[in-house]
């Protein structure tokens, strides 16, 4: 009888001492991770100087001269906004005709295309340019954009210091 009790206690010990570690307690937790929509960020502002960087395309003096400048527009587009729009505004001297040339670019994945080139609408604002699609991996250095301004001969002759600067700004819509 005594042996039976001892054996029972030892067996109980063996049962209560499993080889696996005992889980004392558990706690279930949670917090929220919020990815903010990455809105179009317009941070570029650039002055384009007509002179001395004028590329004469038809001799000098010419009826139509143009400048072609490429600069990097820094932006980021939210993946949750299917059709973000970017407005390019320019403070151009009155009376000058100008064209806005853009080139499609191919990001590392997906497509991201600027709308076709637009003509200055004489309200100091280029036509709205839409950016279609986004992969999140557009060129790291930004979008190359070319502004081409055509000048008549008289305009060319009448250029003065105040006309030399085109101030381009960008606005997110």
């Amino acid at each position: 009888m005594k042996h039976r009790i001892i054996c029972s206690i030892l067996a109980l010990f063996a049962f209560l001492t499993p080889s696996a570690q005992i889980i004392w307690t558990e706690e279930h937790t949670h917090f929220d991770l919020h990815f903010e929509p990455i809105a179009l960020i317009a941070v570029s502002q650039q002055e384009i100087q007509l002179s001395p960087g004028v590329n004469t395309t038809a001799g000098s003096p010419a009826f139509t001269d143009s400048i072609a400048t490429t600069f990097h527009l820094r932006y980021t587009i939210s993946p949750v906004q299917p059709n973000p729009q970017l407005v390019h505004s320019v403070s151009a001297p009155a009376g000058l005709s100008s064209r806005w040339l853009t080139a499609p670019f191919l990001p590392a994945s997906g497509t991201c295309t600027l709308a076709p080139s637009a003509t200055h609408n004489e309200t100091n604002q280029f036509l709205t340019t839409a950016i279609y699609g986004h992969s999140g991996t557009a060129p790291q250095n930004g979008i190359p954009v070319t502004v081409q301004i055509s000048l008549s001969q008289s305009e060319y002759r009448n250029l003065n210091a105040h006309l030399h600067l085109f101030n381009l700004t960008y606005q997110c819509l």
């Binding site: 889980i23 004392w24 919020h34 903010e36 999140g136």
Partner: protein, 164 residues
């Protein structure tokens, strides 16, 4: 006499099992925001999120009701995977607890998985073990809106097993 000794040992053993160990995890923030400042480079055209983002989040871990010399292991795992291929890394701040409370085989960090993985090896009760969190492999195109992060913490008897 032998039976009495065994019964006493059995009582001690069972009472130690029934001792109520408590584990509490207190997050600093209930909501963590990821925005354009976490791009690499920050606020840059078309940039993607940095491969590793230290979150503005921390947690204080308290383990109470354990014997002063008893070893334990804190494990963690996620009950639901994060969006995309995103992973979460948890780093225990070993300087946040007294040296004598740090057990053997304490991991330096834990990459959260679906199965319990050792996070901290402790000895005796601790008051405020600090945990920091790092988000990895997030992508602008894949990670959007709000996603809950569910983490289950487990307190086990005995120290953590040696790492790989």
């Amino acid at each position: 006499m032998l039976i009495r000794i065994l019964l006493v040992l059995l009582y001690i053993f069972i009472s130690s099992l029934l001792r109520s160990q408590s584990l509490s995890i207190d997050y600093i923030e209930s909501r963590v925001e990821i925005n354009q400042t976490h791009l690499q480079p920050p606020q840059t055209a078309g940039a993607d999120y940095a491969p590793s983002i230290p979150l503005n989040q921390g947690a204080f871990v308290s383990v109470q009701g354990v014997r002063p010399r008893s070893n334990w292991c804190l494990l963690a795992y996620h009950t639901e995977p994060l969006q995309g291929n995103t992973t979460l890394k948890i780093t225990p701040d070993l300087a946040s607890v007294p040296q004598e409370n740090i057990g053997t085989n304490t991991p330096t960090q834990l990459l959260l998985q679906g199965q319990p993985q050792p996070l901290f090896s402790g000895t005796g009760p601790i008051d405020q073990l600090f945990l920091s969190f790092t988000l990895e492999h997030a992508h602008v195109s894949r990670n959007v809106n709000t996603t809950p992060v569910y983490i289950q913490y487990q307190l086990q008897e005995g120290g953590c097993p040696p790492g790989p």
